[in-house]
Symmetry: C2
Subunit: 308 residues, 2 copies
């Protein structure tokens, strides 16, 4: 049995996962609002204790703990170097957990964990060269080459959301202009839906947003799309085109066996995957939605011991 | 002693290279105008024979032949799959040379050979993660990860010149819009010089072009730049900005230890390297001009036996 920890800015998910990568038991604990590193460490340690004790699985049966963290992580030393939305600053989280639980511990970046999870137990199981694109508020990436996670200098490889595709475009949070995530992230899509619906409050999209307290979410567009709404179709087509451009860039740079689309929006499945496949049709890189959904990071973390 | 063959659309360069990667003897043979595969093979075989015999080095002292080819190359089987500017179509060039000369032979893509040459014997010798950017008519790339050339599916990895950076830009030869090489290749720079100088025939650039039969070449801009010509400075600054965008994309994707600028224009050295370094100043990826100049491909080919 392994423990997989998926540390995020809102919650930390903790799972007890068997050797076939099935989650046997899990818990979720709040991290939002924690401003001190010590409080964050305590939350993770208590979360692990509580999840194990609630599961009824004896602690002796756990032989590994893996954790995915946002931001920069030094996988070799187990140090969480920095995260924008959590109080992590050169925090030796790996050694701390290892000392506390007397188990081998590994940590890595959360997008790398999601990529690793899909590689070990999900859709890209049989591929040794894969790029996983995590679509969400931003766009993250996990790159696997020759069956190994590409970390790069200072563990910064795979920041594919910050590949510029539109040099005359919008300013990104990172300071550059026209990064892929400014137009192709889930947030970019949601923003576009809200902006366009403002001008057409009686459209299907406008009404869906009104019903949702004035905001679009990751599903709004897809509901309207299923009802054949024209405005939704046009926004979707533009977004898919932006997504396509980045896919082709990844293909031209890595020519991986597979590109995995991960993150909540991948639940839309064929609606997203089919047009992307059509766009890259003439090349041999397969495009697939992740199979592990929101659990990819947790499962990936629990299998980090296979990373060598 | 090894033989390094650098096969191009105009000439094939053949070098006899010692174990310290110094070229002991070399020859150049014309390939332009060859339309048959058999003629091309003959040219390479005769070129090798002639270069060796002219060198006075006994053939028995040669223990390896390596060759770089443009286009798609299957390094494992030694097949030159396809090239735009040479009659190569699934040509088993490796096995043919091996059978003819009774030596071990390896072949690879020419940009990969240039990257490998700099990695084994040039500027990026001590780095195991390096991206080499070959600036010329187009932009090619050779990616080395963990000390190995990244080939990708169908040997198509490293096509970094076809990473889109300007989705509203110019159409590229590949059919897509706004590929990096449409704005940042040496040809893009030369085209821009010619276009702008047309409107100012009495400018320094205009006069240099007139002196050169109406055409700019890779040096025109840099001559005017050294004379502090304003138009040259402005064209150069725009071009460097385009180059920078791609550099940052490579950094965000791979975060390599080093990016090597290769190709003829890298002879301009600090003029190009210093502004690029300034642009990426805050990150740890080092930017360097290649050390082997136009011989990187030949030397790299001669060291392909180290590729494992």
């Amino acid at each position: 049995m392994k423990i997989g920890v998926d540390l995020g800015g809102t919650t930390v998910g903790i799972g007890i996962i068997d050797d076939d990568h099935s989650i046997k038991s899990s818990g979720s604990f709040r991290t939002a609002g924690i401003t001190e590193t010590s409080g964050l460490i305590e939350t993770v340690i208590n979360g692990i204790d509580e999840t194990v004790s609630r599961s009824g699985i004896p602690f002796e049966c756990i032989d590994f703990i893996g954790m995915g963290c946002p931001g920069e992580v030094d996988a070799v030393s187990g140090i969480a170097c920095h995260a924008d939305n959590l109080p992590l600053e050169n925090t030796p989280f790996g050694p701390i957990l290892s000392e506390r639980f007397h188990k081998p511990v590994r940590i890595d970046n959360d997008a790398n964990c999601a990529a690793w999870g899909e590689h070990i137990a999900g859709v890209s199981k049989n591929c040794s060269n894969v790029v996983t694109v995590t679509l969400g508020t931003g766009i993250g990436g996990g790159v696997i080459i020759d069956g190994k996670i590409l970390h790069g200098n200072e563990n910064h490889a795979g920041e594919i959301g910050h590949m510029v595709i539109d040099i005359h475009g919008k300013r990104c949070g990172c300071g550059r202009i026209g990064c892929w995530e400014t137009v192709a992230s889930t947030r970019a899509l949601t923003n576009e839906v809200e902006t366009q619906a403002k001008y057409a409050p009686n459209s299907r999209l406008g009404r869906l947003i009104a019903e949702n307290g004035g905001h679009a979410n990751g599903k709004t567009l897809f509901i309207a799309l299923n009802e054949d709404d024209n405005m939704a179709r046009s926004i979707f087509n533009d977004w898919i085109r932006f997504l396509e451009v980045g896919m082709w860039n990844i293909i031209n740079i890595f020519r991986p066996e597979m590109i995995v689309i991960s993150g909540g929006i991948s639940n839309e499945g064929d609606t997203i995957i089919l047009p992307l496949r059509a766009a890259v049709g003439k090349c041999s890189t397969i495009i697939e939605a992740g199979k592990l959904g929101g659990k990819a990071g947790m499962i990936g973390a629990s299998t980090l011991y296979l990373c060598d």
